[in-house]
Symmetry: C2
Subunit: 264 residues, 2 copies
Amino acid sequence: MPGPAPAQVGRLLLVPNTLDLGSGVEVPLDQVLPRAVIEQAAGLGHWVAENARSARALLKRVDALVPLALPLQSIQIQELPRPRKGAGPNQAAPDLAPLLAPALAGHDIGLVSEAGLPGVADPGATLVAAAHAASLVVEPLAGPSSLLLALAGSGLNGQSFAFVGYLPIEATARAARIRELEALSRRQGQTQIAIETPYRNDALLAALLEHLQPGTRLAVASGLSLPQGRCSSRSVAAWRALRGHAQAHALGDRLPAVFLFLAG
Amino acid sequence: MPGPAPAQVGRLLLVPNTLDLGSGVEVPLDQVLPRAVIEQAAGLGHWVAENARSARALLKRVDALVPLALPLQSIQIQELPRPRKGAGPNQAAPDLAPLLAPALAGHDIGLVSEAGLPGVADPGATLVAAAHAASLVVEPLAGPSSLLLALAGSGLNGQSFAFVGYLPIEATARAARIRELEALSRRQGQTQIAIETPYRNDALLAALLEHLQPGTRLAVASGLSLPQGRCSSRSVAAWRALRGHAQAHALGDRLPAVFLFLAG
C-alpha cells in the first residue's frame, strides 16, 4: 500500500495590516479590515512577517474578534530578512526557501508587513516573487493602502500616478529631486506620491513648499483611517498663504504621512 | 429669537466599492469591505456616484448586512458628470457645486465609483478637488484597490511604481508605448501598471509578450478578490515558453485584469 497522498501545497496569502503603527492609537480592526480577512488570518498557523513582534500584536487583535485556530505561542512566525543596505529591489534572494517550506508541506502561509499591504512600499516583494517561482498560488487579500487612500483623498489625478518612495534627505539633493519630479509631473500629467519617516514630515512639507511652483497642487494626508487623520489639498500658493497657521502646517512627528503633488 | 443654529457642514466620505463589477459573481461585501465602512455606508442619505444604478446595487447589498438608515428610494443619488471626450484630468469643473450642496446643508455625502476606491483609475477626483476647494473635510474610507492588490500579488517592485492607465489600442502606437514604458522601467527600476477593458485583455497580453524583452518580469492579475481570481508572475521568456498552454494565457473577456511589468 502506498503511503499517504502528498499533502496539497499551501498558498501564500498576503494579509493586510492596519495603518496605525506607531500612532499611539489602536483602530478597531473591523474599521480597516474586512471580516473575511480577519477570519482567514485567525485560521493561519504559519506566518512570514516584516516584524514578528508587530505580527503577534496583530494576531492578538484578531483573536479578540475571531478566536485563533491555534494558541498564539504555537503559531510559527518567521521574519523576512532585512534588506541589505545599498542592495536594489531585485537583489537575489537565495535564502527565502525556508520561509516557504510550510507551504510545500501543505500549509497556507500568511505574509504580513507592519502596515497596509505587504510588498507595497514595504519589504515582502521578494518573498512573493519566490512564491511565484515555486509555483505557489499567491492570493492578495483585500485591505487598505495608505498610498491609495491618500491618492483618493487628494483629488489629484488618479488616472496617472507614480509612487517614488522617499526623497533624499540632504537639502540640495532633495530640492533637485523635487524639481525633477515636478517637471515630470507637468510633462506627463502624473501625480507624484512620496512618503517620509514621520519625524521628518514637517521638514519635507517645508521643502516642498519652498521648491514647488505656486500653481502646483500639493496634498498631504496623515494618519488616514485614524481618528486624528486628515487630508489637505490645495495649490502651493494657497499653502504658502497659510504660513503662520500652525494648524495647517504642523503634521507632527508620530503619524505616517503621504505627500502628493501634481504640477498645474 | 434667532432661527435654528446653522447645521454643521457635512463631510465627503470616499466609500470603496467591491471589485466584482461585471464578473457575474457577487462577492460577499464583508470579504472586501471593513464592517465599519459598511455601517457608515448604511447611514448615508446622500450620494454622488459614478453610476447611480450600480450605487443602488451596492446599497442593496449593504442593506442585507446593515439595514439602511433611510429607505433606498429616499436616498439621494446624484451622478458624476461623464468626462468629456478629449478633456484632460484637470479640466475645469464648474458644475460640481450642486453635487456638494447636501454637505453645505449639513449632510455627509458618500462618493462611490463602480469598483474600488473612487478617484483612482476612475472618475471622482474632480469632485474631491471641489470638496477641498469648498473646505469640506474629505475622508477616504479603507477599502481595496485592484491596482495595489495586483502590485502586492505580483512580487514586482513595490517601492517604486507607476500607474499608466490604458495603453493605445492601435498596434503600432501600442508597441511603441510598451517599449517606452519598458525603457522607463529599466532606467528607474519602476514597476509599470496598466489596465485594459476586459474584452481586450487577451490582446493586450499578446502584445506585451510580443514587444517586451525576455528578461522583463510580467505579472497579470485578474479577478482579484473573486473566487476565480488569479495572479501570475514570471519572466517574459517563461511566459513565452507557456505558449500553447491555453490555461496560462486565456484571461477571458469578463474579468477586469491588471498588467504589471518590471524590466530586468
